[in-house]
């Protein structure tokens, strides 16, 4: 019984939150890794791309809510995601046209593009705050829980409660669908294959008749999709605030680098590694250990390895540790 209780507590406070957070990071990191693989630079504007796409989706959600359209138990924001993606795609395509293409034509070295993307980041930053403001925005509706604590206790009779928020379940399901679709696209369609070819060897891809501008366009559209979906899921699960999305840049980059920049599988693995480390290291393990250990060994303190204030430091730690042992990341990424 104690063992079961320990497991429930673990699920409730570590496994489920980390799986949801990991899925969000994975989607974010996929966007970063695609830009890195195809356009060959680290896109510092990615957090704010997520913020912008999510903002458009939120505006659309409010519109739908005002018009009385809802999805019942599901959040209305799910309906608004396509609108968010369209808005976000328009923004990144326009940015590419006005900014990145110029540097591509110059064959600018990656470090220049990184700095350029920081400039783009500040502009997105301003646009988002100008339109929706810097504050927290609520847009989640629908059922709050898939299983709440009381239902679970009645169902199982365990002392330890378990709650699964519907946003956590939605995050996982959506992420699975999106990742499956992305991999189908990259591995099965001609366009996806040309993207992989282009990422592998640009010169040779051109020689095989692949139109680079088309590859770049398709990449931006996919990145906009991933960023908006990741952003909306994160916003539903936690909260929407533009600054939080900017801060997400760190764990997202850590995830992409840990997994191996340029490797989609790596981005997913990296997302979960970072999420589990962050949640695991900042969780107070006292409760779980109390269930598991015999009385005299029960811990006195909280058994919390790091205060939650340090959660962003975890990304850095994992990053350094992984890179010490595998400089190209878990899934052997590329370097440009």
């Amino acid at each position: 019984m104690d063992f079961l209780n320990a497991f429930v507590a673990l699920s409730n406070f570590v496994l489920i939150p980390a799986i949801a957070y990991g899925s969000q990071l994975a989607l974010g990191a996929l966007g970063v890794t695609l830009v890195y693989g195809i356009l060959r630079f680290s896109n510092f504007a990615h957090g704010d791309t997520m913020a912008f796409g999510t903002m458009v989706a939120i505006l659309a959600t409010w519109g739908l809510q005002a018009a009385g359209v809802t999805l019942g138990p599901l959040p209305t924001a799910l309906l608004a995601i396509p609108v968010g993606i369209l808005g976000c795609a328009a923004l990144v395509l326009a940015t590419d046209r006005l900014v990145y293409r110029f540097y591509r034509a110059q064959k600018a070295v990656p470090v220049i593009l990184v700095i350029v993307s920081m400039g783009v980041m500040f502009i997105y930053n301003g646009i988002t705050r100008f339109i929706i403001g810097p504050d927290d925005q609520a847009f989640a509706d629908g059922a709050r829980f898939l299983i709440n604590a009381r239902q679970f206790r009645e169902m199982t009779g365990l002392a330890e409660p378990l709650a699964i928020r519907s946003t956590q379940a939605i995050t996982l399901v959506t992420a699975l669908i999106v990742v499956a679709a992305l991999f189908w696209f990259l591995n099965r369609t001609k366009t996806g294959k040309s993207m992989r070819a282009y990422s592998d060897n640009e010169d040779l891809a051109l020689l095989s008749g692949i139109d680079p501008e088309r590859v770049v366009r398709v990449t931006w559209i996919i990145v906009a999709g991933l960023a908006t979906i990741a952003g909306v899921l994160y916003g539903l699960d936690k909260t929407y605030k533009p600054f939080t999305y900017f801060q997400l840049l760190l764990p997202i980059f850590a995830a992409a680098i840990v997994g191996g920049l340029g490797s989609p599988l790596g981005a997913i693995a990296g997302g979960f590694v970072i999420a589990f480390s962050e949640v695991g290291l900042t969780y107070a393990w006292k409760k779980v250990l109390t269930y598991l250990l015999p009385g005299p060994l029960e811990p006195d303190g909280l058994v919390q390895l790091l205060a939650t204030d340090y959660k962003f430091a975890v990304s850095f730690m994992i990053l350094v540790i992984v890179l010490l042992f595998r400089p190209t990341g878990l899934f052997r990424g590329k370097s440009v």
């Binding site: 099965r188 366009t191 592998d200 060897n201 008749g209 692949i210």
Partner: protein, 258 residues
């Protein structure tokens, strides 16, 4: 016919290609030789759209193709291989070859779903072709090997294989034979001749191996210091004073005196 008119390509103050003019007749296998650093690869890079020219013009059958992007030239039937072999290292040899026809049908997601049967058919045809090419190049045992794991010579063969996947008009080969053993070099030579005769490919071949050039190429163009030095049959080239001068101490001169 490919015509290059007064082409320049400078790197800073250095004139890698310095006013080269030449013609590659349709249906020919034209050799391009010259000492190391003569500007042969740079000339290829400019013709094939990998580098913009500093000045000058390139035409293909009268049409100006100067500065077109490589993928545009591909669709006009102009292909090239690299002196240092390129490959999609994370794909198998077979997948490498199957990438060559670029994006044809299956373009949009829509058609990827709707015309799945037709796309499967195309894929099957492509696969068959890739296997034939691999067979032809005697590397069919490597078809499922990642191209990144091939040896230098094998990568060169794969490069040549790429040009056989589509119906090219003009193919520029930059030292296809480098690092390939003698027997295989003969096979490559045969392949080039066959493609030339049976499928009407025009070739322009850079090669340092004079026997290889002598066997395949007519005419031969000699470059030195970014300029075209001489042009003619291999016999004419070999007896040309200026050419011997350019090669002084290496290649031809040694052969002549040996």
């Amino acid at each position: 016919m490919i015509r290059v008119e007064n082409l320049h390509r400078h790197f800073g103050g250095f004139r890698a290609v310095d006013g080269a003019s030449l013609e590659i007749a349709t249906g020919s296998i034209t050799g391009l030789v010259g000492p190391n650093g003569a500007g042969k690869s740079t000339l290829f890079n400019v013709i094939a759209g990998a580098l913009p020219p500093t000045s000058g013009r390139v035409t293909m059958d009268g049409e100006d193709i100067t500065g077109l992007a490589p993928h545009e030239l591909f669709h006009k039937g102009l292909l090239r291989t690299f002196q240092i072999a390129h490959e999609f290292s994370s794909m198998t040899c077979r997948e490498n070859l199957m990438m060559v026809p670029g994006a044809q049908s299956g373009e949009s997601l829509w058609s990827a779903w709707v015309h799945r049967a037709r796309i499967r058919e195309e894929e099957a045809a492509l696969l068959k072709k890739a296997d034939e090419v691999l067979d032809f190049l005697t590397i069919s045992h490597l078809k499922d090997e990642l191209a990144g794991n091939l040896s230098g010579g094998q990568k060169k063969l794969l490069e040549l294989g790429r040009t056989m996947m589509v119906d090219a008009k003009v193919v520029f080969l930059d030292e296809v034979g480098a690092g390939v053993n003698r027997t295989l070099l003969n096979t490559i030579g045969d392949a080039i001749q066959r493609l030339n005769r049976e499928r009407g490919y025009t070739f322009c071949v850079i090669e340092h191996d004079m026997d290889f050039i002598a066997r395949l190429c007519d005419p031969v163009i000699v470059m030195a210091e970014g300029k075209v030095l001489a042009e003619g049959s291999i016999a004419e080239i070999k007896s040309d004073e200026r050419v011997i001068e350019a090669y002084l101490g290496t290649g031809l001169k040694n052969k002549e005196t040996a």
